[in-house]
């Protein structure tokens, strides 16, 4: 049994006087212990909402969550508020995108680390302070004792994100969700934070859900990748396979729109047409069809189902009527 089993998870937002919108539309995936699973897609594809739904952090009013998310056999979606509070921070940790706004500006880093230790591990303030210093040290924050007395605005962006990681991992959760943990950081810091995350999850055998729009992050970290579009998984694959042979036109488009230093001179980037704003729901056809260069008549007539891909070996799942044909051997080599 997987550590986390998400089945047919859907989230609908309702707003007074407006049409309700389906943000997540039947997402299913598994996370094994110690495994790193990526959720990839443009902003607005539903990847963050998926993680917030699993954590039980969506506002009670205005959002309907259906489907199932089983953690170690326990259904998370039907837990009471109190039961969920006991799990969050202890079994499930989360790291957010913007480390400055995600830390409370008026209380010390120390308290923000120790409060979670006091809450779930029953440590005294003193014990927790000792442990907190160790935690900061472990995530690579120099001079941890002094840092504990400082406030978020006194730390650099990278240090803040390290502190957030320390907080999320303080109680050794079995599942960590990282929601775009490097997006708000400088490029050089991004790599450090990713390396830190990779090291920590390997060391502690924590399962990690990595949410990102950055395929570079996926390439460096994930065992399995789920590509999301308009609230649904459109392609699932092991990391290496995905980069070598993208089958869904959307995945293909994402890969093709990354600038490459080794691209031949004069070669143009090929961005995906349009934007997520051109979203249409998954009814009566493929939601990506309006932006898809491979769209055929079938794509606007019937909604594609998630099926095992017949062309590529391995556990490739695909939601497409007209996938991209694997390119010639030479090109494959170049891409990988």
């Amino acid at each position: 049994m997987a550590l986390l089993e998400v089945r047919d998870l859907s989230v609908t937002f309702h707003r007074r006087g407006e049409k309700s919108t389906v943000a997540v539309d039947g997402v299913s995936f598994d996370v094994e212990p110690g495994q790193t699973v990526g959720l990839v897609g443009e902003s607005g594809c539903g990847k963050s909402v998926t993680s917030l739904a699993i954590m039980g952090l969506l506002a009670k009013r205005g959002a309907t969550v259906s489907g199932s998310a089983k953690f170690d056999g326990t259904e998370l979606l039907t837990l009471s508020d109190r039961q969920m509070r006991d799990r969050r921070g202890r079994d499930l940790g989360m790291v957010f995108q913007d480390p400055l706004s995600s830390l409370n500006p008026v209380i010390s880093i120390g308290l923000q680390v120790t409060e979670v230790l006091e809450r779930h591990r029953g440590l005294s303030r003193k014990q927790a302070a000792v442990e907190a210093a160790e935690l900061l040290d472990k995530v690579g924050i120099p001079d941890p004792k002094r840092r504990l007395t400082e406030y978020p605005h006194q730390l650099s962006g990278g240090m803040r994100q390290r502190a957030l990681i320390a907080i999320a991992l303080a109680c050794r959760p079995r599942l960590l969700i990282a929601d775009e943990p490097t997006t708000a950081l400088d490029v050089t810091i991004q790599a450090q934070i990713l390396a830190l995350l990779a090291e920590l999850v390997r060391e502690t055998e924590t399962a990690l859900i990595m949410i990102t729009h950055d395929l570079g992050v996926v390439a460096g970290l994930c065992d399995e990748v789920n590509v999301l579009y308009a609230g649904r998984v459109v392609e699932r694959s092991g990391r290496h396979d995905l980069f070598r042979v993208p089958r869904h036109p959307y995945t293909h488009g994402l890969l093709a729109s990354i600038p490459r230093l080794d691209a031949p001179k004069g070669e143009r980037l090929s961005p995906i047409r349009g934007s997520v704003a051109d979203n249409i729901p998954w009814t009566g056809g493929c939601a990506f069809a309006p932006r898809c260069p491979h769209a055929v008549d079938r794509c606007v007539e019937t909604t594609p189902e998630m099926v095992v891909d017949q062309v590529v070996e391995g556990d490739r799942l695909l939601r497409c009527h007209n996938p991209v044909e694997p390119a010639g051997r030479a090109e494959q080599e170049m891409l990988s």
């Binding site: 969920m84 500006p105 409060e115 779930h120 907080i167």
Partner: protein
């Protein structure tokens, strides 16, 4: 921090100086001027002339001002002509200031004690009955003239129901020992419980009337601020740690939501001082406000000048204190440049 404080204190000094100049000019341009004020309208031309000379009013205006400043520095602001004829203006201030301070503190305490919890609850149940009711009542609170509210309270709770005294600071029959000039505090210090209780009873109605001004503001700012803060990322982080609701409310929501409320308290002291003029008049409460009201009625210029100057000084000073206390609450200001 220290340099900032010194700079602000210097600013305060400048404001008070400029203000004293303006007030001095104001005094001189008042109808009739100080001579009529002292002698009344029916004095003979001869006595007028003599007094004019005596007061130095025939000298150039800037000489008069300098002399005034010179006397003011020794604490001599002139003698009251109308409020408490014969007493020095400074004496009147010293006598009455504790009364107004006591009243204002109670009013602020009431406003905070009701406004903050109500603001929090209204924000958390946004759009609910409590929210709508309290928003509407805070808006009505703005629209009701303070002195009319004071009248209403006095009529209902003091005159009709007789629960509270109608006027003054202390009942006539009570012979209380005076220590600090704050009657409630005096009663507690000397363990004259009945005197303390009586003084408090005299404070309650005027304090409620006065509290209506800051209450509306404190309530609305708390509500708006809580609405802002609960949407902040760090509250979501706190939730993701599985902290209990009370901890999140106290440590993560209110701690941040209170920052703008603190600012407001400073601003509200101005409104309180103005409101005290009206409330103290209704309840014949012998504070600064009543002296100001009487001063305007009886054109007691020396008293008016000193009291307005002091009111402005207190207002500016309290705002300075609030700004400084802000630094204590908000580490982003406290540790600026320390990094």
């Amino acid at each position: 921090m220290l340099r900032y404080t010194i700079r602000r204190l210097l600013q305060l000094l400048v404001v008070v100086l400029v203000l004293s100049l303006l007030l001095f000019a104001w005094l001189r341009s008042l109808p009739g001027g100080p001579v009529s004020a002292l002698l009344g309208e029916r004095a003979t031309a001869e006595t007028r002339e003599r007094l004019t000379e005596e007061l130095g009013l025939n000298e150039p205006i800037f000489v008069q001002y300098l002399k005034f400043v010179g006397r003011a520095l020794t604490g001599d602001f002139g003698v009251s002509t109308g409020v408490q004829p014969g007493d020095s203006a400074a004496e009147i201030f010293v006598q009455r200031f504790p009364a107004t301070l006591e009243l204002s503190i109670l009013a602020i305490v009431i406003a905070l004690a009701v406004g903050i919890p109500l603001g929090y609850l209204a924000a958390r149940r946004r759009g609910g009955i409590l929210d709508n009711l309290s928003v509407v009542s805070s808006l009505i609170g703005v629209a009701v003239p303070v002195f009319f509210l004071a009248f209403l309270l006095k009529q209902v709770f003091a005159v009709d129901l007789g629960w509270f005294p109608t006027a003054g600071r202390q009942a006539g029959g009570i012979d209380a020992t005076r220590v600090t000039g704050f009657f409630v505090l005096d009663g507690l210090l000397t363990q004259e419980w009945d005197a303390a209780w009586d003084a408090l009873r005299h404070l309650i109605l005027p304090a409620i009337a006065l509290a209506s001004i800051p209450f509306s503001v404190v309530f609305r700012i708390t509500r708006a601020s809580v609405l802002d803060v609960v949407d902040e990322d760090y509250v979501r982080t706190a939730e993701s740690k599985g902290l209990t609701s009370p901890v999140i409310r106290r440590r993560h929501v209110m701690r941040n939501a209170m920052l703008p409320v603190v600012t407001t308290i400073g601003l509200q002291t101005g409104a309180l001082l103005a409101g005290a003029v009206l409330t103290e008049k209704v309840f014949a409460f012998p504070g600064i406000g009543q002296a100001l009201a009487l001063g305007f009625e009886r054109r007691d210029y020396p008293v008016l000048l000193l009291l307005i100057l002091c009111a402005a000084g207190v207002f500016v000073l309290i705002n300075l204190l609030v700004d400084l206390s802000y630094a204590v609450i908000d580490p982003r200001i406290r540790t600026r440049g320390v990094r």
